[in-house]
């Protein structure tokens, strides 16, 4: 039971990843093919999850939508990680210096911005689309990673093995890259999982208001927006993409929690 959440979460996440992966090779129906006579079918033997208002197969759209969601969230986390972690490490290496002060104050500042509003502002002004959505979500991942890596790195800088490395003449940069980074990797992976699930939710939200992924590329948020006017007589249009989002986010969060329990001895102890 102890690793129950990890296993269950990993199962859900793998399910979504497989759906996305398979969609590159095969989907049950071609979603570029509109078929109005088949529109708004509820789940049945031919269309397992039914059809939308254009007669497109919902299962196929969900599978391709998984691809979109995962790609956007992954790239957004990638931006946050690749910029935030070096900044956090640099701040920790020069604790209380001007660099540290500037990085951390900028961090606080970005935290004070309403992220959703700024994301909407960026995507609306620079053009709606997946790329700008990735950047908008990614920017708000930077301070999260910077803060986590700085906090974890600070406590490591007090350790003897770091002192030994300094005595042996290694530069701060080398110490951060060779000794600090591998030791905070656990934490970063856990944080990455959480940010990944937040990215999925953010992408869905942006696409829902029409500023994320653009048609004809299917996206779960987009499908929900289309469903809104029809939800009273075709509830499956809303329930299915919603479930897809919930399954993905739930899977990632459970996996993150499970990983933290295993990787962070402090949490492990307090749970016992």
């Amino acid at each position: 039971m102890k690793n129950g959440s990890l296993i269950f979460g990993a199962l859900l996440s793998v399910l979504v990843i497989i759906a996305a992966g398979v969609s590159f090779l095969w989907v049950p129906f071609d979603i570029t093919q509109l078929s109005i006579p088949d529109k708004l079918q509820t789940p049945n033997k031919i269309h397992w999850l039914g059809t939308d208002h254009f007669g497109r197969d919902i299962l196929s759209m969900i599978m391709i939508g998984a691809r979109t969601s995962l790609a956007v969230a992954l790239l957004a986390v990638g931006i946050g990680f690749s910029i935030g972690v070096p900044l956090g490490l640099a701040a920790a290496a020069r604790k209380n210096s001007l660099i540290d002060e500037v990085i951390m104050r900028t961090n606080d500042l970005i935290f004070a911005f309403p992220s959703l509003v700024i994301a909407i502002l960026i995507t609306a002004l620079f053009g709606a689309g997946a790329m700008n959505a990735i950047i908008a979500i990614g920017i708000f991942n930077i301070p999260v990673f910077a803060r986590v890596s700085r906090g974890a790195a600070l406590s490591l800088w007090q350790k003897e093995f770091i002192l030994a490395a300094r005595v042996s003449g290694k530069s701060d940069f080398l110490i951060s890259a060779e000794h600090i980074l591998p030791n905070i990797a656990n934490l970063l992976i856990v944080q990455g999982t959480i940010q990944f699930s937040l990215g999925i939710l953010a992408e869905a939200g942006l696409s829902y208001v029409g500023l994320g992924t653009q048609p004809p590329i299917p996206s779960w948020g987009r499908m929900l927006a289309d469903a809104q006017t029809m939800v009273s007589f075709a509830p499956h249009l809303a329930i299915i993409p919603g479930t897809a989002i919930i399954v993905t986010v739930l899977g990632l969060n459970l996996m993150g929690d499970g990983l933290r329990d295993i990787l962070d001895p402090r949490v492990r102890k307090s749970r016992e």
Binding site: A112, P114, I122, G205, G221, I239, L250, L254
Partner: protein, 303 residues
């Protein structure tokens, strides 16, 4: 204060470097060059960036947020109208969230490791994973379309009866509160578990206080610090983060105002409202710091 200045520069810059000229946007694609130039002059867009920045800032300090490009009405009036939707909505959602999270978190902490704890924590995992706009749609289908207890959208003005207004904010507030309540329950639970393992709790128990008395008189108060932090963060999030929910329910709030202004290139409205929101976030964080001092006497000397 420094953060506010920096924030204003950032907002101004984002909006400045964005493509799309408000004047040509307002006049449409067939507008003549000289008409556009005239409108730009009227809106003050022909002045250099620096003087426009300073007139924006100095106006805002005096409570003059400028005039909307599209509506031609003072932005301060527009904000004043909208804030009476967004602020009550955020507070309402926060109250619901707290009312759910406190009992749920305390219950889970006392039942730690038992079925009750697992059930509550499982439920909160769902609460966090559910996109609030999707939850909002489901609420509308069930409570507005099927049961007809609430209206599916729109806002009843306060003059038309407080009860009706609150009623029209109920579904949006519930939708907003769900993920917040889930997060807050988890914070409440872990904070309480942490304090319950402290020595002074054991001392209190050893002195013969019952479990319930210890939780209410000692543990809860000490567990409040992290909970207050999250409540503060959530309030500022709710004020700005309602943007999509306001869209779902057609509520005339601040979020919807920004959203419309963005799509209409009404940049001065966007700048001012975003600035106001950042100001609100920083103020709320400050208030939370003061609330710390009230909850934790040890911090009083430092503040």
């Amino acid at each position: 204060m420094i953060s506010l200045c920096l924030a204003s520069v950032i907002i101004f810059t984002i909006v400045e470097i964005a493509p799309g000229d408000p004047a040509s946007f307002m006049l449409g694609i067939n507008a003549q060059e000289d008409t556009i130039a005239a409108l730009r002059a009227e809106l003050g867009l022909d002045q250099d960036k620096l003087s426009r920045y300073f007139s924006w800032i100095s106006g805002m300090v005096q409570g003059d947020f400028g005039t909307s490009y599209t509506y031609r009405s003072p932005i301060s009036n527009m904000i004043a109208d909208r804030i009476w939707v967004s602020l009550p909505l955020a507070l309402y959602a926060l109250v619901i969230s707290t009312l759910i999270a406190f009992p749920a978190g305390i219950y889970a902490a006392t039942q730690r490791g038992k079925v009750g704890d697992v059930a509550v924590m499982g439920a909160t995992q769902f609460g966090i994973a559910i996109p609030n706009f999707w939850f909002a749609m489901i609420l509308v289908v069930i409570f507005a379309l099927k049961l007809r207890w609430f209206s599916a959208g729109g806002f009843v003005e306060w003059e038309n009866g407080i009860f009706q207004s609150i009623k029209s904010l109920t579904l949006p507030a519930i939708a907003l509160a769900l993920p917040q309540a889930s997060i807050l329950s988890r914070v409440m639970r872990s904070a309480l578990i942490e304090t319950l393992s402290e020595d002074y709790i054991r001392t209190a128990r050893a002195k013969g206080f019952g479990k319930r008395a210890v939780i209410w008189r000692h543990a809860l108060r000490n567990a409040l610090i992290p909970v207050l932090t999250i409540i503060g963060l959530q309030f500022s999030f709710l004020l700005a983060g309602a943007i999509i929910i306001e869209q779902v329910f057609f509520l005339p709030g601040l979020g919807r105002l920004v959203f419309q202004a963005i799509t209409q290139r009404d940049l001065i409205v966007v700048e001012s409202v975003v600035m106001l929101l950042v100001f609100a976030v920083i103020t709320v964080n400050f208030i939370v710091d003061i609330a710390y001092a009230i909850a934790d006497p040890r911090l009083r000397r430092r503040v």
